[in-house]
């Protein structure tokens, strides 16, 4: 590399850093403001001119939010629901995706289109018919109702099919010669190769489950059967514009996921990078 190239590379590095720092600050502002507001009094939260820092930090928001909701239940239900809505879709979708990507069979195109066209249907469409199904099964107002309808994922099927299609066919052909059946090929050879995509799907499914708002509100009414997302949404109906309470609830809902994410971010993000390097 010549001198000039090195110095231009340095300049680029600087520009990159500045862009990233500014963007990072913008991304973080809502979190900072959430914490600051949660510690203010109701009046201070809406004061003009605005106060950046709470003059006398108060925990009232947290106390009220905890008193009016069932956070321990929210956490447990959310984690349990998230596990169910992650593990099953990952297994089922990867199986289907492999079949769609590699095993040519009659009706494969039409069935694939059928499954992914489900993605195009907005969620609220499912509410009423699924409510009726849950009621026929006697599952209204139960934790089971939170996840039972989401054991499959057209999205994950689509994503994994894309990944399987980019994998070279040579590995598979060797396995066929060894007498492996399609399921064995899928399980022992193909699945480890798309580990990065699986990690991505785990994250996406976790996050979708975590964020699901309307369905728990419709299907369940007891606070002990609610998830975090729907639980804090009911705070809005209860507390209106009492922002410290809302922000306290939001913060308590967000914090576990942030902590989890900080702890596992290496596995989450670098896991993708690492396995892809090997692949």
């Amino acid at each position: 590399m010549t001198e000039m190239q090195i110095s231009s590379a340095r300049n680029i590095n600087w520009i990159v850093h500045i862009i990233l720092i500014i963007s990072a600050v913008v991304m973080l502002v809502p979190f900072v403001w959430m914490v600051l507001t949660s510690l203010k009094t109701t009046t201070e939260a809406t004061q003009i001119p605005i106060h950046f820092f709470p003059s006398a930090p108060s925990l009232r928001g947290y106390i009220e939010a905890i008193k009016q909701s069932a956070f321990p239940h929210y956490y447990m239900n959310t984690v349990f629901t998230a596990i169910m809505k992650t593990v099953f879709p990952v297994i089922f979708s990867s199986m289907a995706a492999y079949a769609f990507a590699r095993l040519r069979f009659p009706g494969s195109t039409i069935l694939f289109v059928l499954i992914i066209s489900v993605m195009m249907v907005p969620n609220p469409v499912f509410y009423t018919p699924q409510y009726m199904m849950m009621s026929d099964l006697g599952l209204v107002n139960t934790v089971t109702a939170l996840w039972i309808t989401s054991l499959i994922s057209p999205f994950a099927t689509f994503l994994l099919r894309q990944f399987f299609m980019t994998i070279s066919k040579e590995l598979e052909e060797a396995a066929v010669l060894d007498g492996c059946n399609p399921f064995q090929i899928y399980w022992h050879i193909m699945l480890p190769l798309v580990k990065s995509a699986l990690v991505a799907i785990v994250i996406i499914q976790l996050q979708w489950s975590w964020n699901e708002l309307q369905w728990p509100l419709i299907i369940n009414s007891s606070p002990e059967k609610m998830t975090l997302s729907s639980g804090i949404a009911t705070l809005v109906s209860m507390f209106g514009t009492d922002y410290p309470v809302l922000m306290a609830g939001a913060f308590m809902a967000v914090v576990p996921m942030i902590i989890l994410f900080f702890i596992f971010q290496k596995q989450f993000i670098e896991g993708i990078a690492f396995s892809a390097h090997k692949g």
Partner: protein, 289 residues
């Protein structure tokens, strides 16, 4: 292996997804299609056939066309902005820059913030009198109830929440590009930009294709943020009200599930069309290995 046993294996492997799809998703969609041709009474326990009456009413309804325009406007702003910013950040973070992991975590944080929580804090940030954004800009704009700005606010909130995931997907795509391609280009003395243009972008097209479809489908279904941030007594509601919002109101608030179903069936058709177009054109720009 003969093709017969391959078929059996294939059906076995798609069975859970297929059955689940048909029972929990296909059946409701079928009902939605039927509902569009009916008139329901008493919370949907009594239904009469009315042919295309709901659709005739729909296509004469100025509000429906406005809602359709709003939805497409949101899609046209949200999808490209998210895709471009996510790609830029993914490329920047795919280098050996200092503090890499911290940036990745920060950009992903909005993704782990549930919309309900995010909406609450954005409402406070965009508030007219005590909002941080007006304070910083030195303005007193009523962002949320201004028919010109309300949509921009929704796009900002949407992009803020979507960058993390899409960046990650694109990052995974970038990591999957074989190093040998770049090494070969280095030997040929290729410039940074040319490597990006002729290696990175083409190799990234399958991922970009996928993310663009997911973003597009997600964007046409915008609802939560309108519901949570704009609200039903907002003067700007008509300029941001989406098809799904109108569906929700008709089905669950106005006791008119049939009209709601007609709205959503039109959206379903639009989405199928848009996705179909994308699939049809993918051969033109997507490079599969």
């Amino acid at each position: 292996m003969n093709s017969r046993s391959r078929y059996v294996w294939a059906y076995f492997m798609i069975a859970p997804t297929l059955i689940g799809t048909l029972v929990f998703w296909g059946w409701p969609v079928l009902q939605s299609i039927l509902l569009g041709f009916q008139q329901s009474e008493n919370f949907g326990l009594v239904n009469h056939w009315v042919g295309f009456a709901n659709y005739e009413k729909l296509f004469r309804d100025a509000e429906f066309w406005q809602n359709l325009r709003n939805t497409l406007y949101y899609v046209a702003l949200f999808v490209p902005v998210t895709l471009i910013l996510s790609t830029i950040f993914a490329v920047l973070l795919n280098t050996k820059i200092k503090g890499l992991s911290i940036y990745r975590v920060i950009f992903f944080l909005p993704q782990v913030t549930m919309p309900a929580a995010a909406a609450m804090v954005w409402v406070v940030l965009f508030a007219q009198d005590f909002g941080l954004i007006n304070h910083i800009l030195g303005t007193r704009v009523a962002w949320l109830s201004n028919s010109n700005y309300a949509m921009i606010v929704l796009v900002i909130v949407g992009v803020w929440g979507a960058i993390g995931l899409n960046m990650l997907l694109i990052l995974a795509g970038l990591q999957g590009i074989p190093k040998s391609l770049y090494e070969a280009a280095d030997i040929d003395g290729a410039k940074r930009f040319n490597k990006f243009r002729y290696i990175t972008i083409p190799m990234l097209t399958p991922t970009l294709f996928f993310t663009s479809i997911i973003l597009l489908i997600g964007a046409t279904q915008i609802f939560d943020s309108i519901f949570l941030i704009i609200g039903k007594t907002n003067v700007a509601l008509p300029s941001v009200r989406s098809l799904v919002y109108a569906y929700y109101q008709n089905s669950f608030v106005y006791f008119n599930p049939n009209y709601g179903a007609a709205i959503i069936n039109v959206l379903l058709l639009i989405n199928l069309l848009l996705t179909g177009i994308q699939f049809a054109f993918q051969k033109k720009w997507v490079v599969y290995d």
